[in-house]
């Protein structure tokens, strides 16, 4: 049994320790907002926060996170969510960023993590978001939405 803290809730899971966190979230805990895109940390669709830092859940063995706080998209935008999560969601909706939407949980997780530091410029955004692939190529709106979210956080 492995003890986890997911979105502020303690959960016990009975899986081998080398199981990627991605599949524990999705298949064991029913948190399907975190997506499977590549399995090798090349696309960022599975991005979660591990003690506040963005991580690729597909390359994170569940046994390594027992003492950490994990936040998924469901937690990022929940009622009691972080202000960054709320700002990112509001900006994403205001600018109609999504198309197919499959990568957007991961995009929002990376964006929210970026926004905990200084107000980013385009270069910062490209650097922080380059690991998140969007095959619909919503990138221009992602950039604009991050700027918009940064403004919301200042307000």
């Amino acid at each position: 049994m492995i003890k986890l803290n997911i979105n502020g809730v303690d959960r016990d899971v009975d899986v081998p320790e080398d199981t990627p966190l991605l599949w524990v979230l999705r298949d064991e805990l029913g948190l399907t907002g975190t997506k499977f895109g590549c399995g090798v940390a090349q696309c960022g669709a599975c991005t979660i926060h591990l003690d506040g830092s963005p991580m690729r859940a597909c390359q994170t063995p569940v046994g390594d996170v027992a003492d950490s706080k994990v936040v998924t998209i469901e937690g990022l935008v929940a009622e009691n969510a972080s202000k960054e999560g709320k700002a990112v969601q509001a900006a994403w909706r205001a600018l109609d960023v999504v198309q197919c939407g499959y990568c957007q949980s991961g995009q929002m997780m990376s964006a929210a993590a970026l926004l905990t530091s200084n107000k980013p410029n385009d270069k910062d955004i490209d650097a922080a978001m380059n690991g998140n692939v969007c095959r619909c190529a919503t990138y221009q709106r992602i950039r604009a939405a991050i700027h918009d979210a940064a403004k919301r956080l200042e307000a």
Partner: protein, 736 residues
């Protein structure tokens, strides 16, 4: 045309109880793709007392929610928002009361009127639904107004509806929800379309207006939108399949001893496509598959490589084609009297669709039914295919469509490949458990159904004024339709239109045009890839015309305009893009600007691309200014989004994407070898639309074709080098 004909797309109709409209027979569908569609489904929702069905496309709940039944797959291109907009507009509903659900497989009710079969593609979703959905909305509105008029004892014409609220000058006021039940029992209006006209465009409150947000905005930004990958049924097993490394390979033998030891692995079965490992979780299924030892029989497999294919295609275009796709005038005569002749050869690689959600499909097979859940894009193929595999009747096969994490064409397959694979697995375990077939990214990249490779050879003659008088165009590559159930319909006199579209209907006024095609047979499955034939033909035509303009010493925009005199939509798009981009400005050394304009799927898109040659000789795409002529714009922001996305999709392919084979094996696997466009590659994109009151045309695909040639022309402007082989890859350039 009667109202019923408008809803049914002009097909013969019969009115069933409560004004239900059912298209009789479905013979057109059956003839076209070789199966007979099942009967119309019975209405069940009304009996449950929840959402009340007004017609196949509109349901109204007593709580006031209006549910639009969406007949098209939404893979990101936005038909869910667009179709809901058409209904909301005609019903004078409030956007916040709109809900959507995907239609079941039922070609009688939900055929794509452009195909006469149920499916999504060809950028037809909004265009084919334009009158059908507005009529459905107007009809529902009329029934609700009549119910209110009956209750209030007033004339229908005195009732005003705004944002879903009905009012009468006497002060009476009500909501759609209040009248839903009474209205749903009324007969649907019968008679001519004029009796229940749809709105005059001048009265549109939603269509064409800014500020209407995508209806899938909320669920796609809180993790609740359900894709196939997220579906979980009781006792479901996840299946991951070991596929042969070469196309056409088969299982010779396999050793599953190690795979069986993986915790969670439940069953291992051989199917025609390979060996399937079924487990309680996805990770166990992947691990089990990785532990399998399979020996493959490659006797019947394709074992050649990309170099062989391109050599074959190059050789084919050095000779006359085996079929003639277009012949006007006399090209030989044109070449005889030419002042200048220009020849060029082009090559294009296989491309994978690589949607973010790798392919998958859920099947629950029972003795007398099969229920499938997935991002269904071609129900009229998938449903009879599943029936044939299982021995069920088509109407015993039900399909529940969910959001698709991209597709770009990959989920609509004439062989129903991944759907058939899922069903074969379910059949192999005799339906003991529901099955979710999951392809990994590597399975998806290596799984075939690529945009075909092609070679083109063009010879063009200019007169003494530099204008083209003859254009001989040879194309060689695989046919998308050959060998499929749709071949008879789509291949005529040896010409698959998707191999030549964009050239055979050349927009430029060239007196003599000859387009020849040689169709090559290769054992690698191919498929339509967002914008299909235009992905390569637009590149050739638009870089050639640019080359001709330079040979003639003329400005590339003016030269195109002179040759497009009779093409007002091309002219409008080209002019708008050129104006907005500041065409004609002088750029600094190391920078380049290129243009392209192309018609596809009845829409015209022009793009002007600005690039910079980086110090290391690489290309940075700075800006793309696009103008689209798409008829009536239904949602301006969705149109912009589709062009932005089309630019990015086409740009990634032009810059660095290619699927290559060596000894029959695909050399790319994950995103480290099939490298997608990333945010740092994405240029600033501006999108403008040409004002129009014509019926809407497509926009899911038309943003793609112009980007590669406009980029190539910009590179030429900066460096003097022509780009005739895609992708650019690691090439370095020197500015001039």
């Amino acid at each position: 045309m009667t109202i019923q004909e408008r809803i049914s797309g002009g097909q013969p109709v019969s009115t069933s109880r409560r004004g239900f409209l059912a298209i009789a027979g479905g013979a057109g569908v059956g003839l076209m793709i070789g199966f007979k569609a099942g009967p119309a489904e019975a209405a069940t929702e009304a009996a449950k007392g929840a959402a009340l069905e007004f017609n196949p496309f509109v349901k109204v709940s007593p709580n006031g929610a209006i549910t639009v039944v969406v007949k098209h797959l939404d893979m990101g291109q936005g038909p869910t928002t667009g179709l809901a907009t058409l209904i909301a507009e005609e019903m004078d509903a409030d956007w916040s009361q709109m809900r959507t659900e995907f239609a079941p497989a039922n070609a009688n009710l939900y055929a794509n009127l452009a195909f006469k079969a149920q499916g999504t593609g060809g950028s037809t979703a909004m265009a084919n639904s334009w009158e059908q959905y507005r009529t459905a909305g107007a009809t529902a509105r009329a029934m609700l107004v009549k119910a209110a008029a009956d209750k209030w004892q007033v004339a229908q014409g005195e009732i005003v509806v705004d944002k879903g609220v009905l009012t009468h000058p006497s002060g009476k006021k009500g909501t759609y929800g209040e009248f839903a039940e009474a209205a749903s029992k009324l007969p649907a209006p019968v008679g001519s379309a004029q009796q229940t006209p749809f709105k005059d465009p001048s009265k549109f409150k939603l269509i064409g207006k800014e500020g209407l947000h995508r209806i899938d905005n909320d669920s796609k930004t809180d993790g609740t939108a359900i894709y196939t990958q997220d579906v979980k049924l009781p006792n479901m097993l996840v299946a991951v399949v070991a596929h042969p490394p070469k196309f056409g390979g088969k299982v010779k033998s396999f050793d599953d001893a190690e795979a069986k030891k993986v915790k969670g692995v439940e069953k291992i079965v051989q199917i025609p496509q390979g060996v399937a490992v079924l487990a309680k979780s996805t990770w166990a299924a992947i691990s089990g598959r990785n532990a399998l030892k399979v020996e493959w029989d490659d006797a019947g497999a394709e074992s050649r490589g990309s170099e062989d294919f391109l050599a074959m295609a190059r050789d084919a275009v050095s000779k006359p084609g085996t079929a003639t796709a277009k012949k006007t005038g006399d090209v030989d005569k044109g070449f005889e009297g030419a002042a200048k002749v220009i020849e060029a050869e082009f090559t294009f690689p296989y491309l994978a669709h690589a949607p973010m959600e790798p392919l998958n499909c859920v099947v629950d097979l029972k003795k007398d039914s099969a229920h499938l859940i997935y991002g269904a894009q071609f129900q009229s193929i998938d449903q009879p295919t599943v029936a044939a595999i299982t021995g069920l009747k088509p109407e015993q096969v039900t399909i529940e469509t969910v959001w698709a994490g991209g597709s770009f064409g990959r989920r609509a397959v004439p062989t129903a490949d991944y759907v058939a694979e899922a069903v074969m697995i379910a059949k192999a375990i005799e339906g003991s458990n529901p099955v979710k077939l999951v392809w990994t990214r590597e399975d998806d990249t290596k799984g075939g159904y690529y945009r075909p490779f092609y070679a083109h050879k063009v010879k063009a003659a200019l007169d003494k004024d530099g204008m083209p008088v003859a254009w001989l165009h040879r194309i060689a590559g695989q046919s998308i339709f050959a060998g499929t159930a749709l071949e008879a319909m789509a291949v005529k006199d040896g010409v698959d239109e998707t191999s030549v579209e964009g050239v055979s209907n050349l927009a430029y006024a060239v007196p003599s045009l000859q387009v020849e095609l040689t169709t090559l047979k290769v054992g690698v499955p191919v498929l339509w890839w967002r914008s299909v034939g235009h992905t390569h033909t637009a590149h050739v035509v638009e870089t050639m015309i640019d080359e001709l303009a330079h040979a003639a010493g003329k400005d590339p925009v003016e030269y195109r305009m002179a040759l497009l005199k009779d093409k007002p939509r091309h002219l409008a798009a080209l002019k708008l893009a050129a104006e907005k981009a500041g065409w004609g400005e002088k750029l600094a050394k190391g920078r380049g600007r290129g243009v392209a304009v192309h018609e596809s799927f009845n829409s015209v898109v022009a793009q002007v691309v600005d690039i910079t040659i980086k110090p290391d000789g690489g290309v940075k795409v700075d800006r793309v200014v696009a103008a689209a002529e798409v008829g009536t714009v239904i949602n301006p922001d969705v149109v912009r989004a589709q062009v932005e996305g089309g630019v990015g999709f086409g740009l990634g392919a032009a810059l660095r994407n290619a699927i290559t084979l060596k000894g029959g094996e695909v050399q790319q696997g994950n995103f480290d070898t099939y490298k997608p466009l990333r945010i740092s590659d994405m240029p600033h994109v501006e999108v403008y639309t040409v004002p129009s009151t014509a019926n809407p045309t497509g926009i899911g695909e038309p943003g793609v074709p112009p980007i590669a040639p406009a980029l190539a022309n910009a590179i030429f402007a900066a460096t003097g080098k022509r780009i005739r082989d895609l992708p650019l890859g690691e090439q370095k350039f020197q500015s001039v």
